[in-house]
C-alpha cells in the first residue's frame, strides 16, 4: 500500500548492470529501490532450480545505503521454500571522487543451507552443495557476517569494480571464507539525447562480471572452488524501472554449467521525506 501511494514520485533511474559485483555508487538519499531478482541454474547430480529474492534498498544518506534481502527458491520437482534474510549496509569512505573509490560493505545473513541465490560465491562453494533435496538442506542454518571492500573507478564512461570479500560464520566455529567479484561496464552512449525515450542507447549499460570463491583460512586458494563469467546488461527506463539480464557460465567442473539471472527494479525517489510527512515530519 505504501509503495502504491508513492507511485507518483518522479523518476531517478541510472542503475548498474551488475548482479554480484558492486560499484561505489550508493542509493540517492531518501530514495527506496524495490528490486526482484531471479537466478535460474542448471544442476548436475540433482534438480535445477530457480532462486529468487527481493531487495529493499534505501539511501539513508549520501554516504550510507542500507538494504534488506528476502530470499526464496524453487527446486524443480522438489519444493518452494523461504530461505532467509540478509541485512546489508554500504558506507562510502571518502567524501569525494578519486581514481579508486572504496566503499565498506557489511552484511548480516540469517539463511538456511537451502539458499541458492548465489549473490556471492565464497570459500569452497561448489555446485554439489545444491544437489541435496530441500528437506535436508533447510535443516542447516547459517548466521554469517560478510565483509567486502568495494573498489570502483569510472573513467571515460567505463566502470571498473573489484570486490574482495570475507565471511565469518557466527556459530559453529567455522573459519573465515574468502571470495571475489569484479566487473567492467559502460553505457552504450555517453551523451544523452534531447528527447525523452525508452530505447535511446544511453539507457542501456552493458558489461561483464566474474566472481568466485577463494577458499577459507586453512586452505586459501583456488582448490575446490567455483567461478563464473557473466555478461550483463541493464536497461534503465525513464519511467523509473530498470531491467537486468545476465547469462552466466561456469568456468570449472565445480561450477554450475549455466546460470540465467534477471531482475526488475523500481526506484521511489523521496521515499524518506514522504514517510516522514505521514508522521508529521517535514517533507
Amino acid at each position: 500500500m505504501a509503495l502504491l501511494a508513492l507511485g507518483g514520485l518522479p523518476a531517478q533511474a541510472q542503475e548498474s548492470p551488475y548482479f554480484v559485483t558492486y560499484d561505489h555508487y550508493l542509493e540517492e538519499p531518501g530514495s527506496l529501490e524495490v528490486e526482484y531478482f531471479s537466478n535460474l541454474a542448471t544442476q548436475r547430480g540433482g534438480r535445477s532450480f530457480d532462486a529468487y529474492w527481493i531487495e529493499l534498498e534505501y539511501g539513508a544518506t549520501a554516504w550510507w545505503t542500507t538494504e534488506l534481502y528476502l530470499d526464496a527458491q524453487s527446486t524443480f520437482g522438489d519444493s518452494t521454500i523461504f530461505t532467509g534474510f540478509r541485512l546489508e549496509n554500504r558506507f562510502r569512505l571518502l567524501k569525494s571522487e578519486h581514481v579508486i573509490n572504496p566503499v565498506l560493505y557489511v552484511e548480516y545473513e540469517q539463511i538456511s543451507e537451502a539458499d541458492k541465490i548465489m549473490k556471492e560465491i565464497e570459500g569452497h562453494d561448489v555446485e554439489a552443495d545444491h544437489a541435496t533435496p530441500n528437506a535436508i538442506l533447510r535443516q542447516g542454518h547459517n548466521h554469517e557476517l560478510e565483509l567486502k571492500l568495494l573498489l570502483s573507478s569510472t573513467r571515460y564512461g567505463w566502470n571498473f569494480a573489484v570486490n574482495p570479500l570475507a565471511t565469518k560464520p557466527l556459530t559453529g566455529g567455522d573459519p573465515w571464507e574468502f571470495g571475489y567479484a569484479m566487473g567492467v561496464s559502460r553505457p552504450l552512449a555517453l551523451k544523452a539525447s534531447a528527447k525523452r525515450c525508452s530505447l535511446c542507447r544511453e539507457n542501456f549499460v552493458a558489461g561483464v562480471e566474474m566472481y568466485g570463491g577463494l577458499g577459507d583460512r586453512p586452505s586459501f586458494g583456488l582448490w575446490q572452488t567455483s567461478h563464473y563469467l557473466a555478461p550483463v546488461v541493464a536497461w534503465n527506463l525513464p519511467s523509473n524501472w530498470t531491467l537486468r539480464l545476465s547469462p552466466g557460465f561456469g568456468l570449472n567442473d565445480h561450477s554450475h554449467q549455466f546460470l540465467l539471472r534477471w531482475g526488475i527494479s523500481r526506484e521511489f525517489s523521496g521515499f524518506g521525506s514522504k514517510v516522514a510527512s505521514w508522521f508529521g515530519g517535514r517533507r
Binding site: P10, S31, G84, Q110, T154, A276
Partner: protein, 148 residues
C-alpha cells in the same frame, strides 16, 4: 512456527532499518537547509585546474535540452522542477551557482557534497554531466529570492 518467527523478525528489522535511515536522511535535510552549511560554499573549493575547464558542449545546440531531460530525471527531486530549490537541495538559479564557471559546476557534480547530502554524480558519463552544466547555466538567475 519457525518460519513465521523468522518473517516476524525480518519485518521488525526492516522497520528498524528504514526508520533509522529516514531519521538520518532528515538530519541531512536540516543540514542542507541551514545557510551556514550551504552547498554554495563548496563551489569555492573547486581546484583552479577544475574550475578553469571549458564546457566541451558549449557550442552544442542540443546540450541544454538534453541537460533539461537529465535534470528532470536525476536532480529535480531535490532541487525542484524549476531548479529554484526544493525539499533538500538549494536553488541552482542563485547568483553563486550562475556566476560559477562551468568547470566549477562540473567539478561539484562529479564529486558531490557527500557530507551534506548531495551524492556524487560521476555515475553519469562526462558528456552527460556537461549537458547538465549547459542546462543549469541556461537557466539564468532567478527573479525570486533563492530558497536554501
Amino acid at each position: 512456527m519457525i518460519r513465521s518467527a523468522i518473517v516476524g523478525r525480518a519485518a521488525v528489522l526492516l522497520a528498524a532499518v528504514l526508520l533509522v535511515g529516514i531519521a538520518a536522511a532528515q538530519t541531512t535535510n536540516s543540514e542542507t537547509q541551514n545557510p551556514a552549511n550551504s552547498v554554495y560554499a563548496e563551489l569555492a573549493k573547486a581546484p583552479a585546474k577544475a574550475a578553469g575547464r571549458h564546457n566541451p558542449l558549449e557550442a552544442d545546440p542540443e546540450a541544454a535540452a538534453a541537460g533539461a531531460k537529465l535534470f528532470e530525471l536525476h536532480c529535480a527531486e531535490c532541487h525542484g522542477a524549476t531548479a529554484d530549490g526544493g525539499k533538500k537541495g538549494p536553488s541552482l538559479r542563485a547568483q553563486e551557482v550562475q556566476q560559477a564557471t562551468p568547470g566549477t559546476l562540473f567539478w561539484l557534480l562529479t564529486n558531490g557534497v557527500v557530507r551534506k547530502g548531495m551524492p556524487v554524480w560521476s555515475r553519469l558519463p562526462e558528456p552527460q554531466r556537461w549537458q547538465l552544466v549547459s542546462y543549469i547555466k541556461s537557466l539564468g538567475p532567478s527573479q525570486a529570492p533563492a530558497k536554501q
